[in-house]
Structures are given as C-alpha cells and as structure tokens.
C-alpha cells in the first residue's frame, strides 16, 4: 500500500533537514502508529505524504499503491485514495459544509469512475456517515469548521474520512485537544472504518489514543528517523519510560 524508502525532507525556506532517511512499509489493512517527541518530524511526514507545499524531498522515494506518490499533486493524491485528517482543520468562512463535501465526494467518485451522486443520495450518505462520529447532520448548513468546537473539528475530520472512503488514512495528532468522551467517539469511528483493504497511519505524541485504536505496529520517530519498531506493547513501554530512554539508547549505540 505505502512504501517509504530512505526519505529525506527539508523545509524549503529554511534549508533545514527534518526527515533524515525514513523507512516505512504499510500493507493493506494494517494500522501503524508513529510516535515521537515534539520536533521529531511527525507532522512533516504527514504533510509530505499529503502533498503540502513548502517541503523539498532531497532523497528517497514514496510509493503509494504502485505509484510514485511524490509525482502527484495534493488533490490527485486525495482522489487516488490518500486521506489526511488534519491536526488543525482549517476554518473556511462562507464555504458551506454541504457544498464542500459534495465537491469533495464527487471529485473522488468521478475519479473512481462512479456516478456523481444525486442531491438525495448525497444527503443520505451524509446522514449515514455523520452518525459514525455522532455529528449533528445539521452541520451541513454551517461554514466549513467555522465555529466548530475542538471536538467537533476532529469528529468532522473522521466524518470526512468516512465519506471519502480512502485506501490509506493518515491521522495527524487526531487525539490532541480531545477530552476522553470525544476521544472515544473518534476512536470508535475509526475502528468502525477499519477493514482488510484500508490502512491507517496514526501520528501521535501520546499513547492514550492507542488504548482505543489498537495498532498492529508501533514506530518511534526520533530526529527524522524511525529508530525503533515493534508491536502495540512498545507504546506502553514508551508511556512508562518516556522518549529519553530511546534517545539514551541511541546515544549508547552510536
């Protein structure tokens, strides 16, 4: 599904290398968690995969479903089935949720050779998917993310994930700013969307989310490289010992 090979990424403006040879292999249906301290490159990884401007890939490759991901524009990646749940969903005053979602769903459907949804069918789909994360379907009349609470914004991201039905979903710090109830709703939503074809990459600082969405693999990202990989128990170890333990070990190995 996703193969990242020796990925080096710099921020264009600063000429500063953030990812320094990252490797990752995600197979269909797998859930991978990427954990790491602040500044380790977690959000850069999410941004680069989703195609945000401002990053320069200096070395390495990313293959998504057999295609060179880095050759595709952000919107092409989304239509190919890559989804990014934003850490900070953007507010778009004046753009209605209904119009935004309809355009998004229909561009993806068109790309897949599916019919454009009728107004009635679209409404039905919205209702069905909004229920997954207990979102009030009346939010369609509101402007995108405008005036949404922190929890609503994150639930709305998962709602969009459900609507767009991607092959690979990257969740960037989806747990940040959520209280325990909202976290449970979001996690239940994600768990309901897991299947043998859809893969997830969960990017998180804390282990908390992984109590609810149990990953198949956990990777530790430190200073732009994955330094340790393991099963779900690795997350618990990190919770207990913190990231310094790994950093220390790194230093010793070096």
């Amino acid at each position: 599904m996703l193969t990242i090979n020796n990925l080096h990424v710099s921020i264009e403006e600063e000429q500063k290398e953030i990812l320094k040879g990252l490797n990752l292999e995600v197979k269909p249906g797998e859930v991978h968690a990427i954990m790491g301290p602040n500044g380790s490159g977690k959000s850069t990884l999410a941004s680069v995969l989703a195609g945000r401007d401002g990053y320069e890939v200096t070395e390495g490759s990313v293959t998504f479903d057999g295609e060179d991901l880095l050759e595709l524009e952000a919107d092409e990646r989304a239509r190919e089935g890559l989804f990014l749940a934003f850490q900070y969903p953007v507010e778009l005053p004046g753009v209605s949720m209904a119009n935004f979602l309809k355009q998004a769903v229909n561009s993806v459907r068109e790309h897949r050779g599916q019919d454009v949804l009728s107004a009635g069918d679209f409404l039905k789909l919205m209702k069905e998917k909004a229920a997954i994360v207990s979102l009030d379907p009346s939010l369609k009349a509101r402007a995108v993310n405008e005036g949404f609470s922190g929890g609503e914004k994150k639930r709305s991201e998962i709602f969009q994930l459900a609507l767009l039905d991607p092959k690979l979903a990257i969740l960037d710090e989806t747990d940040s700013g959520l209280d325990i109830d909202a976290l449970r709703i979001v996690a239940d939503g994600v768990n309901g969307l897991r299947n043998e074809n859809r893969s997830f990459v969960l990017i998180t600082h804390y282990q908390r989310l992984l109590d609810y969405i149990v990953p198949d693999f956990v990777h530790v990202l430190v200073d732009g490289r994955i330094v340790l990989s393991g099963g779900k128990e690795l997350a618990l170890q990190l919770e207990e010992k913190g990231y310094d333990w790994i950093k220390d070990e790194q230093t010793q190995t070096a």
């Binding site: 989703a50 195609g51 945000r52 401007d53 524009e73 952000a74 919107d75 989304a78 239509r79 989804f83 990014l84 934003f86 969903p89 953007v90 778009l92 005053p93 004046g94 753009v95 119009n99 935004f100 355009q103 998004a104 561009s107 993806v108 790309h111 402007a143 995108v144 969009q160 767009l164």
Partner: protein, 430 residues
Amino acid sequence: MQIESRLLVEIRDRLARLDANSGNGWANGREEAAGAFESLGLPSTRSEAYKYTQMTKRVKDVLSLDNAGTLIDTTSAFTDVPGIHFSTVNGLLTESVAAGSLPKGLTVSSLSEAYAENRIALDDHLARAFDPDRDAFSSLAAASAEDGILIHVAAGVSIAQPVILHHDRVANSGLVQPRLLVVAEGDSSIKVIEHFGDSGSGSAFENRIVEMISATGASVDHLVVYERGREATFVNGLHVYQEERSHFATNTITLGGGMVRNNLHFLPDGEECETHLNGLYIAKGSMHVDNHTFVDHAKPNCESNELFKGIVTDKAVGVFNGKILVRQDAQKINAYQSSKSILLDRAASIYAKPELEIYADDVKCSHGATTGELDDDALFYLRARGIRPEAAKLMLLEAFARDVVDLVDVDAVKDYLYSRLHSILTETAS
C-alpha cells in the same frame, strides 16, 4: 484649465439658452455648480483624492457634453424581478410615467416635469445632500445635467416593491451627465435598485450626480450593479443626507467598466441615524476600480457600518479610500469600517487607505484593511479532499465575494448576483 474652459463654455452656453426659454428652476444651482467646478478644476495626478485614478485624462478623450450620437443598447438584467421598472436613456426616463400607474405616495418623473408641476418642493431637496465644492466631477455633473430623475415617496408611505432603474441605453460619445434625486419623506421607506448593463465595446462615459435624502424616521435601501464593458468610464457621485432616526443602506457592486470611480458621501445630520455602506468589486484585465467613501458624522448617537471587498487580478487596479470623520459634537458614535481585498496576480495592484478623523471623545470606531492572496492553508485543505485547484480557488473566491451580496435583501437580485459572480469568478479561477 483648457479642458475645464472648453466644458464651461458649453455649459454656460446651454444655461443661457435655457434661461431664455423656460426659467428652469434649478438653473441657479447649475450656475453655482459651474462656478464651483471652475474654481476646483479637474483633479490632476497631484491631487491626493485622485492620486491613483487618472480620471481627468479620460475626460480629454470625450471632451464634449454632446451625446446626441449613437446609443449603445446594453444587456438588461433582472427584468423579471418583482418591482416597479423603468428604463433610461443616458440616465433619463424614456417616457413620462402615466399618472395613477404608481402606488399611492410614490412619484417617479423627470426632474423637469416635477419642476413644471411644482407639487413637490424640489428646491428644498436639490443640493441639500450635495456640496458643490466637494468634488469637481460632481459639480461638473450638477452644472451640466439638463434633466434627471426624481423618485419621491410621500411621508409615512412604505413602498414594498423596489423601484428598479435599468440604465439600458447610453450614448457612445460625449459625457453623459444625468442627475438622480431620491427623496424619502418622514417615516417613509423605499428601495431603489439600479442596473448598468453591459455596453460591450461601446465607450460610454457616465459622470452622474445622485442625491438621496432620508428624512426623519425614513428608510432608504439602495443598490447599484454596474456591469458596463471595458471601454466604459463611470464617475458615480452619490451624496446622501440623513435626518434624525433615519436609515440608509447602499451597496455598490462593480463588476464591469474600464475605469470606475465611486464617490460615496454620507452626511447623517441628525441623531440616531443608521448608515450602511457596502461594496464589492471584481477588477480584471486592465480595469481600474476606485471606491472613495466619506462618512461625515456631524451629530451624536449614530451608527455607521462599512464593508468593502475587492478581487483584483491580471493587470487591474483596485483603490479603496474610506474616510470617517467624527465631529466634535458627535458623541456616542459607533463607526465600523472594513475593507478586504484579494490580489490574484503579481501584475495587479491594490491601494487601500482607511482614514479616521475623530474629534469627539466618547466614540467607538474601528477600521480594518486587509490585502492578500488566497490563503494557502485553505487551498491545501480543499485540495487534500480531492478538489481540483481551480475548483478550490473558485470556492474560496465565491465565499469571499458572496459576503457582500448576502447583504442584498431582494432575493431575485441576490440570485442574479450569485450567478454572475459564479461565472465571472469561474473565468478568474481557471
């Protein structure tokens, strides 16, 4: 002074003939305006108010009051909107309005007919909202206008349907300088909508003077939609006078023209007035659109709200200058101004300048002016959902512009504007 002298010779020649024939009631006012025009002179590029807008240069090309030449038939819009419709030629009514054909209390006629009839005291209203020394173009129009339109609503009368002026036909040569006077007497209310249709490749030059009076407790709601072609020039002098407890709202939407200058003046001259001035412009190609607004708060306890938005692309130029003056006696004023523009091209430019002059100490005033490109984060968010860049851009531009159109309160006109925005911005976004 060469241009001015030539125009003045023409104006005075006409005034002399007019006096001899009819003793026209506003000839004195015209003479005074001509005097003001003579001393003001057309603004040079050194003039602060016209620094970015070289209107005087455009006048040279048409240097005549004679517009007897060919007429351009422009494209009408919202003809099916429920309302009281009139078409104009060079800003004047095409025929007399039959008595009894209008709702009771409403008069729509030519200024000359109203004068002859002498039923409405025009001398009390003309030049009340307008100070001839304020702007050379307005005084030129006031001096030149041979006739105009009067829209008058009697005290206590509310006209539910909008009066819609379709400025459908305009001369291809000469300066077209009509006058429009709208008077809402005490506790009356009226809506006036004006449409300037697309003149294609015709080179209309309209320099008009509009005076609007909202008397005690009255309400006037005004909308201008300007869609002339790229060769057209427009100087739109709007002068508003408000008495106490009156309401006035105007929305100036500029979607066409080659060079457009909106001079919008507001004088809330009584307590507890409410003034809303909104505007939107989209400038493309080599268009030049300049909105100059001036709110003169002379009396206490009033409120004014101003929102102007612009989208400027290609090599076009957008200018906004919004002045709010709060005079010393005008305590407890709430005055808000916001101007926002989006620049879509490196060759395009915007000059925005808010000016607050406050002499009273107990007031709430704020202004905000922003100019920028489309927000990258917003574009990325849309694209990360599979929406193509052109469609994403269009969504954001439409959202930006619709904000002003949302303030139009006639639904059918609003729908017309939404669809116009959609097609203009689709072109812009692709």
